[in-house]
Amino acid sequence: MNGIYGRLRRSWRLACAVLAALALVALQGIAGAREGSTLGFLVVDTRLAMHYGPFEADCPLGFEPTVEENFLATLGPDERERILRPENAEEYANAWKGEFINGPGGENVCQNPKAFLDDPRHPPHRGIQSPVAYGLNLDGTPDGRATPLTCEHPKFEGLNGEPAVDNQLYRAVGCYKSRRGTGESQQQGSELDPFLIELRGVDDLENDRQVEVGIYSVAVDDLVLRTPGGAPLPHQSFRVTSNPKWRNETTGRIVNGELRVDHLDRLFLRYRLFTWGAFGEVYSHEFRRVRFKLKLEEDGSVSGLMGGYRPLWNISTIGYCCRGTASTANMDCASEYKTFALMADGDPDPATGQCTTISAAHRIGGIPAFAIHEGE
């Protein structure tokens, strides 16, 4: 997963500059929408909701180990000292990039992390230790107790003091080196392909008891037009995908200028891999029991949180992708998968009781756009 996330990284400063520029050119201030009007947004910012608190508080034991560090941890002091000598560099590289990540049966830690569940050399991560995180209360409980749809798990406090928010994915990956450097480099890139949100039947932008909400992937051919600096331009038109799987519809409400979607059972969004070896392969991001909380901004943009449960298999399929992920991204997918399994808090397997999905939140930002429904 880190490999994909890392490749999508973009600086927060750039994002701020882009949004400021877009605000200048916003043509359709959403204040004053006519009765029954339609609003569209292209969601271009879909970072995993990472909260960067004080490192010592978030990760008191330091960064999670890389796959290389996990390998070194299996060696005694003398052997570690020997193999790290420059003259043994080739032996060292062959050792950790060979058997350690490919396993005795030839399984790769990132291609099939489940094959390493019993291998103690790939231990689960420690995870975030501090109590504050971005997120939404997805299970409806005040304390994370088990329910028919969830497993018992610890809760976070929201950044604005909201009680009992869920974001176990952040707990699992929040101490990765690849996810938190220092300063600007802490900020992550977008996780998802740009997608559309369309609000229909909007009578009042401050308070509206019910609006129709469409969440759609964009038709494959409709590329996002950007400035030379890479900023997506507002007010572009995008065709809604013709694939019904990636057309998601529900209802929501507007409360004090904030769009709230309280429940969308399943959300699928198209995702095209651009990783070497799998370039162009199309997958779906899957989210379950999704909630949105988005501020409708004066300049016509939206920003806020999207939360939901993500199936572990879905994360690993998209995130791990290929055999080379471990050796090039230096990540221990087996450790990560074990961490996800331990921290999974949604959709318990009826047979084993093991939860199969993990709560997550994305900080999303959208710019005004037009959703084109062809044939209508």
Partner: protein
């Protein structure tokens, strides 16, 4: 004529030798019949050159190179510059390089079978019969008249000499063709006259010159074979024969190319090539938008005025246009992408837009890099569309106040211009531009819609020659009713047809064309037809540039 600097390539030496030989050959300077008179010459525009090459040799012949730019004369068309411009040494260098590249493609293995039209008896030596057949046919098309026998023989001899020196028939043929492509008889449209049998003692354009004049006006390219045949028969000297050809040419889709060139010139679209916008203020002004905004207007014009043959005045009020996704984000309007990048588009009734003046090509072209400009827009409307020249500003005007777009006291352009007009030196001209341009202030410097500037509501009221206007759509309606608008178009078309600034002697004819235009319910097709069939269009010996514009 001259060749590029002689280099290691043997072709250069061959070319230099052959051109020099042609230049000193007896009669080389006179391709026209002895005793006739050349009264004017106009350089082919870049479009005409490219169109001619495509028409004669096919669209897959690449023409790589740039020509000397045309310099727009004050208050006139850029096309008029062709009557006054010469060819610079650098420009001729470009011509020779293009000629070499074109000739090389015509005889290369991919094209020779179709373009040369005959096979030499052997490829390693000259074949006068095949060369003559090719050069006679192509020479007629390139020079827009048949080659005199002596000239044709000189070209055949050049091909022969080239083949002898190079050991290749096709190299020799290419070298002969190359000399034709850099000939003034191809690069310039030269009027050739002959005695006028209807008016003893006077002259008239010969048929070939008439054919060229018709073709460059109506099609923006060289005459086709049918038109040359009509010239050869003398048809163009009779009203019936001329009308027959003009009707054919007006009915041809090729008319669209000329109408596009004309309106691009009339609207001053060359300024869009150099247009730049502040990327922070106008991030939506991306490369695609810059390329597509003049194209949108030209497509609108061709569709409305040529294909639909509608009233010219509707150009200022019509909500029908063409759109791309890139343009849609500037207009803030949804665009359903079609199979083609362009889709025919009906602007919504409440969009605040209708007609040419609300298209981003006009709005962005006549704005500053970082702000709109009611003055530039008003001036453009006056000068380009109403033919009412606006004086240049004095040299010592202080524009700093107008440039303070973040002035919290003067938040809108109207506020800033009001203070600027307190300077009596400025007030005179601004009074004839600003009341027009202020009605377009709903559009920022790139043409995007807005209702406020610096948080202050924008007042889009104004006037046009006594007509009260309440915004951009009403401005279009007012221009469509303005009697100067169609008169101006007729005058511009007359200038475009003659490819020179109108002289005072031409004004009566231009006025007559305006009347004909009105009589034809302002149909541009009819106007082009009326100009092309009028006597004045073919008249010779008129004054050049005496400031009638």
């Amino acid at each position: 004529m001259r060749c590029p600097a002689v280099g290691p390539d043997r072709r250069y030496a061959l070319c230099a030798g052959i051109i020099a030989w042609l230049a000193v050959a007896p009669g080389a300077a006179a391709a026209q019949p002895a005793g006739d008179d050349a009264t004017a010459m106009r350089r082919l525009t870049e479009e005409q050159y490219r169109n001619a090459i495509a028409d004669i040799f096919g669209p897959d012949i690449q023409v790589a190179g740039r020509m000397d730019p045309l310099v727009r004369l004050p208050h006139g068309l850029q096309t008029s510059a062709v009557s006054a411009i010469s060819v610079s040494p650098a420009g001729f260098e470009q011509y020779t390089q293009m000629a070499r590249a074109i000739a090389g493609q015509v005889v290369d293995e991919a094209h020779r079978a179709t373009l040369v039209g005959c096979r030499p008896t052997a490829e390693d030596r000259a074949d006068d019969t095949c060369a003559r057949a090719f050069l006679e046919r192509v020479g007629r098309l390139l020079f827009r008249r048949p080659l005199e026998p002596a000239d044709l023989e000189r070209q055949v001899a050049a091909a022969r000499e080239g083949a002898r020196l190079s050991g290749s028939f096709y190299t020799g043929l290419a070298l002969s063709l190359e000399t034709m492509l850099v000939s003034p008889h191809f690069l310039f449209d030269i009027d050739v006259t002959e005695p006028d049998p209807a008016r003893p003692g006077e002259v008239r354009l010969d048929g070939w010159s008439k054919a060229a004049r018709l073709s460059f006006f109506l099609w923006d390219t060289t005459p086709d074979a049918l038109l040359l045949d009509a010239a050869a028969r003398g048809d163009l000297h009779s009203a019936e024969g001329l009308a027959r050809q003009v009707d054919r040419m007006i009915a041809s889709p090729r008319l669209e190319a000329s109408v596009r060139t004309f309106f691009s010139d009339m609207l001053g679209f060359e300024r869009i090539e150099d247009l730049a916008k502040d990327p922070v203020l106008y991030p939506q002004f991306v490369r695609d938008v810059k390329a597509e905004m003049p194209e949108q207007t030209l497509r609108t014009i061709v569709d409305l005025l040529v294909r639909e043959n509608r009233d010219y005045r509707e150009l200022f009020t019509s909500r029908t246009t063409f759109m791309t996704r890139a343009l849609g984000q500037v207009y803030g309007l949804p665009v359903t992408p079609g199979r083609d990048a362009w889709v025919r588009y009906e602007l919504p009734e409440g969009s605040g837009r209708a007609g040419l003046l609300t298209q981003v090509s006009f709005l962005a072209a006549f704005s500053h890099d970082g702000r709109s400009s009611p003055t530039l827009r008003g001036q453009a409307l006056r000068e380009l569309l109403l033919c009412q020249p606006v004086p240049d500003p004095p040299a010592n005007v202080d524009f700093s106040l107008l440039e303070e777009t973040e002035n919290l006291e003067l938040r809108t352009a109207r506020d800033r211009l009001a203070v600027h007009r307190e300077n009596p030196v400025c007030a005179g001209c601004h009074r004839i531009t600003d009341p027009i341009g202020l009605t377009l202030e709903n559009f920022d410097g790139v043409g995007a819609y807005r209702t406020t500037e610096n948080g202050a509501p924008i007042d889009v009221s104004g006037t046009l020659d006594g007509t009260e206007i309440a915004g951009p759509v009403e401005l279009g309606a007012a221009v469509s009713r303005h009697p100067a608008a169609p008169r101006c178009l007729a005058r511009r078309v007359a200038e475009y047809a003659l490819r020179r600034p109108l002289a005072n002697d031409d004004l009566g004819w231009a006025a007559e064309m305006a009347s004909r235009f009105a009589g034809e319910e302002y149909r541009v097709r009819a106007l082009f037809g009326a100009v092309a069939t009028s006597d004045a269009f073919f008249q010779v010996g008129r004054a050049r540039q005496d400031g009638a514009n």
